[in-house]
């Protein structure tokens, strides 16, 4: 720590602590000591305080204990001469600052000004944490840039943000400089802000930086299985997993220094555009701790180098940028130059395997008129046919690879894609068209991305793009036949048909004891990995996280246990899980990493179960919100009566087969019902439960808020669960 920085940070920490003390006493005066205090919809209380100290703050009075911790941590100011060592004290001051800033922000939720205001989003709830957190787990987001302050002008701000997005990083924004903020600069530059574009404005004050660091702490708690209060593992987890850094744009105040010192505890260095002292020796962070005076044109590259991050950016010969960060970018009608499909024009997309001699790698053909043939705001038909060949390619991989068209196209800036097969819908923005984007670029993009990600199974890729309506319609007929054939094959595929399941240990770097067993009838709990996906992934990276496991002998068919699967789980869970059932949530249920789409939980008095999806933020009949439930289920432990699973699994014939399957479902949020409805109704009919009627017998938040109300509802509705044996 440079002495100047240490002195400033410790001064700043004292100032922020004072602010916290003041706002806390005002909040207590206005609301009383027993007033409940929380960030919206999270099971992690006030997360930095919770993760570092284990203190679960629930009411304002609890903050008084935290204030004691803060005072205990706050060191004396650094002397001008004969100073005692200040690195440790400064890091402590930094942590004290983060605690104090959490108090400040939490009190603002109670007595204002509300952190959520205009473009400012305030705390991220657990839905966002889980949805976005998975990207940190699988590496699609290597980390985040916590931007403090503002760039000198809008153009510079937009350039920096775009560069960060191109490198797949999240951009968390807080604090102001020169009367403006980075987020406001982006907004005035016409950049779409929000979680979906990875550009997240937290707040105007430096105190809102705790939303970034709180997000990091929660990632360690939820995905890393780190226990609250285990500060050391939490911080090291962040140092070694979440490659974040601070970009300080503008004058670095004492309060900024103090907050940056807090970030250094996480191994997140600061890169500044101003001329402040540097801290180059390594140790707390992977490399330098503070690097300064970096020109704006180089600041993103420098930050990545300082953090020690390697980001592969596929260079694709198209006139727009390409990165996962652009995936969530919308193109509104008025920004749109041209659209395809979306029930407005005939369209489809189709990936087929061909013989190696039938594919000319890199060939892109566009048949029919190009985008410049229409006026701005126009529409055209579109047929995309991707033809691939490779020694390791299999027909079964076709749907897996075809689904990637969605992601690949969405990741191009100014290109928007929705749906799949013949329900696809594509838009090209005015900006992209202005930059020279033509239909051949879709081909070039797909060719490059397939090679980039699937080179171990694909040798050749060619793309044909059709815009002539008749031609598109004719080809779509051909594609239809293939879709139907695939569906039939997939629908018929059962766990009994295959001798091999696949493991998924992708999350083990985050949840060390968890292992998913993916079978045809039980996809991965994150919803992202089906049995076929795993098989393809294994072909792509034979030593990767998806390994084939021969089932071996069946121990018990109803709960779904096999000797070799159990042996594999025991070994890969580090000896933690001895037995695991594929079809039971009571007997040796599967563990969860934290990425699950849904949680099933027993409602004992009803004899059935409730299912809640992570998007549902309200209270559920079991008395816990999704976020609290998630804490019970995640972390790689077996918790009988609770499982995390994908949405698809609900519609599997094997869904908790040991307990009686979907008959047990007595409560689901309406949004989940709606989402899974089509297949669910079919499945219910198949089981002789009556399709629509059965769905109607299941309670939801509009009909039952508590377990008692659920019981009352299903009793009245004549739900079949009453005829089943008790679950325990």
């Amino acid at each position: 720590m440079s002495k100047i920085i240490a002195s400033a940070a410790i001064r700043g920490a004292h100032k922020i602590a004072k602010q916290a003390e003041d706002i806390l006493s005002r909040a207590i005066k206005e609301k009383g000591k027993d007033c409940k205090v929380e960030f919206p919809n999270t099971g992690y209380y006030i997360p930095i305080i919770y993760s570092m100290t284990g203190i679960a703050v629930e009411k304002l009075a609890d903050f008084e204990d935290v204030m004691k911790e803060i005072k205990d941590l706050l060191p004396g100011l650094v002397d001008d001469e004969l100073w005692t060592p200040y690195l440790g004290p400064t890091l402590d001051a930094g942590m004290a600052t983060l605690f104090a800033e959490e108090i400040i922000e939490a009190c603002k939720y109670l007595i204002g000004p509300n952190p959520v205001d205009g473009i400012w989003l305030g705390a991220a709830d657990d839905v966002i944490l889980r949805e976005r957190g998975i990207q940190f787990v699988d590496g699609t987001a290597p980390g985040f840039a916590a931007v403090a302050g503002a760039a000198p002008d809008v153009e510079t701000a937009v350039n920096i943000a775009r560069k960060l997005q191109e490198r797949c990083l999240y951009v968390f924004m807080s604090a102001h400089h020169n009367g403006t903020t980075f987020a406001e600069q982006l907004a005035s530059g016409g950049v779409q802000l929000g979680w979906e574009t990875r550009l997240v404005p937290f707040g105007r004050e430096i105190t809102s930086a705790i939303y970034s660091l709180g997000f990091a702490s929660r990632a360690a708690l939820s995905f890393g299985g780190v226990k609250a209060g285990d500060y050391r593992r939490n911080l090291l987890y962040n140092k070694n997993r979440i490659f974040a850094f601070v970009l300080a744009l503008g004058k670095v105040t004492d309060e900024w220094y103090a907050t940056a010192a807090g970030a250094i505890n996480y191994g997140f260095p600061t890169i500044a555009d101003s001329d402040i002292p540097e801290i180059l020796p390594t140790g707390i962070c992977t490399y330098e701790h503070v690097v300064s005076n970096i020109p704006h044109s180089e600041i993103v590259e420098k930050a990545i180098e300082v953090r020690g991050l390697k980001i592969k950016v596929a260079k694709i010969d198209i006139p727009v940028a390409h990165s996962p960060a652009f995936e969530g970018e919308r193109i509104r009608k008025e920004e749109m130059y041209c659209e395809f499909g979306g029930q407005k024009t005939v369209s489809f997309e189709w990936l087929r395997m061909r013989e190696i001699g039938e594919v000319e790698d890199g060939k892109v053909e566009v048949e029919g008129p190009d985008v410049d043939s229409v006026e701005a705001g126009g529409k055209m038909p579109l047929g995309i046919v991707v033809e691939v060949a490779g020694r390791k390619m299999q027909t079964d991989f076709e749907p897996v690879l075809e689904r990637q068209i969605h992601t690949f196209m969405n990741e191009a800036q100014g290109l928007w894609h929705m749906g799949q097969r013949d329900l696809n819908w594509v838009r090209i923005s005015k900006d992209a068209a202005k930059a020279g984007f033509k239909l051949e670029h879709i081909g070039k993009l797909l060719h490059a991305m397939y090679h980039e990600q699937y080179s171990s199974i694909l040798d050749k890729v060619q793309v044909k793009i059709y815009t002539d309506e008749k031609q598109v319609a004719a080809l779509r007929e051909q594609a239809h036949a293939v879709y139907a054939e695939r569906d039939a094959r997939l629908a018929g595929m059962t766990d009994e048909d295959v001798g091999t399941f696949y493991s998924c240990t992708l999350c083990q770097s985050f949840a060390p004891n968890h292992v998913c067993i993916v079978s045809p009838e039980r996809p991965g709990l994150c919803g992202a990995y089906s049995w076929l996906d795993c098989r393809a992934a294994y072909e792509i990276v034979p030593t990767g996280p998806n390994q084939p496991i021969s089932k071996g002998n069946c121990i018990e068919p109803t709960i779904g246990q096999w000797d070799k699967i159990n042996a594999f789980v025991l070994k890969t869970s580090g000896g933690n899980v001895e037995r695991m059932s594929q079809y039971s949530m009571i007997t040796d249920p599967m563990t969860s990493c934290g990425c699950f789409e849904c949680i099933s939980a027993v409602l004992p008095s009803t004899g059935g179960i409730m299912i809640v999806n992570r998007e549902f933020a309200e209270m559920t009949p079991c008395g816990m919100k999704f976020s609290t439930l998630a804490g019970t289920v995640g972390g790689g432990n077996q918790t009988p009566g609770f499982i995390g699973h994908s949405k698809h699994y609900i519609n599997s014939r094997k869904f908790i087969g040991a307990e009686g399957g979907i008959r047990r479902i007595v409560w689901m949020p309406t949004m989940l019902k709606e989402e899974i409805k089509d297949t669910f109704v079919r499945r219910a009919e198949e089981f002789g439960l009556g399709g629509e009627e059965f769905l109607a017998r299941i309670a939801d938040e509009t009909t039952a808020a508590t377990e008692e109300e659920t019981l009352e509802f299903i009793t009245k509705a004549g739900h079949p669960v009453s005829s089943l044996e008790p679950m325990f």
């Binding site: 720590m1 002495k3 593992r233 707390i284």
Partner: protein, 648 residues
């Protein structure tokens, strides 16, 4: 002789000039009177272990090459050397034993003047001794630790617990292979005395082996126990400001100089001297208050824990007394010159001995009993106050005081490198690996009138830090560095190379870290063990880019210290050669072949710059062997790499 030839210390020079004028005598004068010193003694060739002798070996090969019993030069010198180690190890370990007894008393008695001040460290140390911690009261744990530690001195079976609990596993294997794993502290010392008796062993290597074993029982045993229990009993040091040199004596106050080595009495003296009643009494006698200052390692003990100023190091003990401003010089054990006895009679100063082990002609003896500690301490302070009025003539205190920061320990380094939340040695290892810090050196030891006072320490330390070698220091060497301003944090920018300066600036530390008294050399051992455990710099202490030195050594304790550093794998340079140069095979073994057995070796070099050069060369060779001298490209982490990182 010109005072400037005798000492590089300004206060000492001023006092020596004053002394010349008054006609008093000092160690420097007596040294000159001793010259020429005995050549046989210097070369280690005189044996007086039985009454057939004394025998001596002719170093020029003209005269006898064997003693009456047939012992040759190597045997005689090896016997003499290991007897020095026995004495040194005995001194440290007996200090440790005394602390252990005080500790036992504190644990067993509810009414004694000592108590456990560092419970955290108690638990850490007890865990090392495999004592159950969880769910137990402090007293219970402490009682078990007291028993375990006491057993280490005299047990008849097994090996030292601490020698298995503290050093890296690889080091323990080296000792096992050579057969030098220490069994118990006293036993190894006794066995030296047995083996060097007339007609026991004559194989010089086998004799040295026992010296190694006894030294290890000192460093990883007796000394380590002294350090650990002192921390538990008197509180673990924490970075603290201190003043140094004769200028800390205050003409207007009652001055008490505490001198020697043990903290038991001095710590209590510090406490009682702050009692209002005694302060008032001093004022009634015309003084402005009570000024406790330290000398030698007693100074280091209370300086590390309380910031009590240090008046000087070994060669300044007479000078302090000669200021005429010292009411009481209170001594316990070790490095107390008998000359003080007669010297004190020339002044009003009362020289008070307190240990039954150390009575000095001309001194008053007030025996220190731990169970009446405060009472005795008060008695002594009162005596000093009473004596204030007896000052004779003019007081001469050089106006020379420097300041610095002391109080670094094996344990608090964790905190200072990462705060409460990220405490670790990682930044130290990292910056050694990346070359900002080339390595570390322990510069320790005494004063010796054969070298210009403090010059060896300071010249060597400055050369090392200029070359980006971090220095840790203890004993009289640390006091020398403190007096010269090398323990000011500001010294980093002034004296260090760029890399070390950057690291010091980052942490806020001086380039020379004061880690305590000479028994606290055990702290250097445990720091090295922690550096190995942190990882990235090899498996053993002998892999580390570190070196040790005692540029002005004189005591037998220094020989034991040197040997336990060599036996722990550290290249150790001393100025005055060991008294072995008359024994060619023994010399070759100690300075060369021993490295194959232990990974460390001795070197003798009087020129501190050359000696520093040898240390730096050794450090660079270790860096080469570790492969960290190769410029590495910055590793950038992709997802695979991140997954491979361990989170522990």
């Amino acid at each position: 002789m010109d005072p400037k030839q005798r000492s590089s210390d300004k206060a000492a020079q001023e006092m020596l000039k004053h002394v010349n004028e008054t006609g008093l005598e000092t160690a420097w004068d007596r040294f000159e009177q001793q010259e020429p010193q005995c050549g046989f003694g210097k070369l280690g060739l005189c044996c007086r272990n039985c009454s057939m002798g004394p025998c001596r070996i002719d170093p020029f090969e003209d005269g006898p090459q064997e003693g009456i019993c047939g012992a040759n030069a190597d045997t005689i010198a090896a016997r003499n050397l290991v007897r020095m180690i026995a004495a040194g190890a005995a001194a440290h370990s007996d200090h440790g034993r005394d602390i252990a007894h005080t500790f036992k008393m504190a644990v067993e008695s509810d009414s004694c003047d000592y108590m456990i001040k560092d419970e955290l460290k108690l638990r850490e140390v007890a865990a090392r001794y495999d004592i159950k911690i969880e769910g137990r009261e402090t007293k219970e744990i402490a009682a078990d630790l007291s028993d375990a530690v006491m057993a280490e001195f005299g047990k008849q079976e097994g090996t030292l617990v601490s020698a298995a609990a503290y050093p890296p596993p690889a080091r323990q294997k080296v000792w096992e292979k050579l057969g030098v794993t220490p069994r118990s502290i006293d036993r190894e010392i006794v066995e030296i005395m047995h083996r060097t008796h007339i007609g026991v062993g004559s194989d010089y290597k086998n004799l040295v082996k026992q010296g190694i074993r006894a030294s290890l029982a000192d460093g990883w045993g007796g000394s380590l126990i002294a350090t650990e229990l002192s921390d538990i009993l008197f509180g673990s040091p924490w970075p603290i400001r201190f003043g140094a040199n004769l200028g800390v004596l205050d003409e207007k106050q009652v001055n008490i100089v505490v001198h020697g080595h043990e903290p038991s009495l001095s710590d209590i003296i510090v406490a009682v001297s702050q009692e209002p009643e005694l302060i008032k009494m001093s004022k009634d006698k015309g003084a402005e208050g009570i000024n406790i200052v330290g000398m030698c390692c007693t100074a280091n003990e209370i300086l590390m824990r309380h910031g009590i100023p240090v008046a000087g190091n070994f060669l300044q003990q007479e000078l302090a007394l000669m200021t005429g401003a010292v009411e009481v010089m209170l001594v316990d054990v070790q490095c107390i010159m008998p000359a003080l006895g007669s010297l004190s009679n020339c002044f009003h100063t009362k020289l008070i001995t307190t240990s039954p082990k150390c009575k000095i002609a001309g001194a008053e003896h007030i025996e220190f009993e731990e169970d009446r500690a405060a009472e005795i301490a008060r008695q002594i302070v009162k005596l000093a106050i009473e004596n204030f009025a007896n000052r004779q003539g003019k007081v001469k205190i050089p106006n020379v005081t420097e300041h610095g920061i002391a109080g670094f320990t094996t344990e608090n380094i964790f905190y200072h490198l990462g705060g409460r939340f990220r405490a670790s040695y990682r930044p130290l290892n990292d910056n050694i690996i990346n070359g900002r810090i080339r390595g570390a050196a322990g510069v320790v030891g005494c004063n010796n009138p054969k070298q210009m006072h403090d010059y060896g320490h300071l010249t060597m330390i400055k050369e090392l830090i200029k070359n980006d070698v971090l220095v840790v220091s203890t004993g009289c060497s640390a006091i020398a560095a403190g007096k010269a301003g090398l323990m000011r944090p500001e010294a980093a920018a002034k004296y260090c190379g760029k890399g070390l300066a950057e690291v010091c600036e980052t942490v806020g530390i001086p380039p020379v870290l004061h880690v305590g008294s000479c028994v606290d050399n055990s702290r250097i051992l445990t720091v090295l063990a922690n550096v190995v455990a942190e990882g990235g710099l090899g498996e053993d202490i002998s892999d580390l880019p570190v070196a040790g030195a005692a540029p002005e050594w004189m005591s037998e304790k220094a020989v034991s210290i040197g040997m336990y550093f060599v036996a722990s794998g550290v290249f150790t340079v001393i100025a005055e050669p060991l008294p072995v140069l008359g024994a060619p095979n023994l010399t070759r073994y100690l300075t060369d072949e021993i490295e194959k057995d232990l990974g460390g070796k001795w070197a003798f070099e009087r020129d501190p710059i050359k000696a520093a050069g040898m240390m730096i060369e050794h450090i660079e060779s270790k860096r080469d062997a570790l492969g960290i001298n190769v410029e590495k490209e910055r590793k950038l982490y992709d997802m695979e790499d991140r997954r491979a990182l361990v989170v522990e």
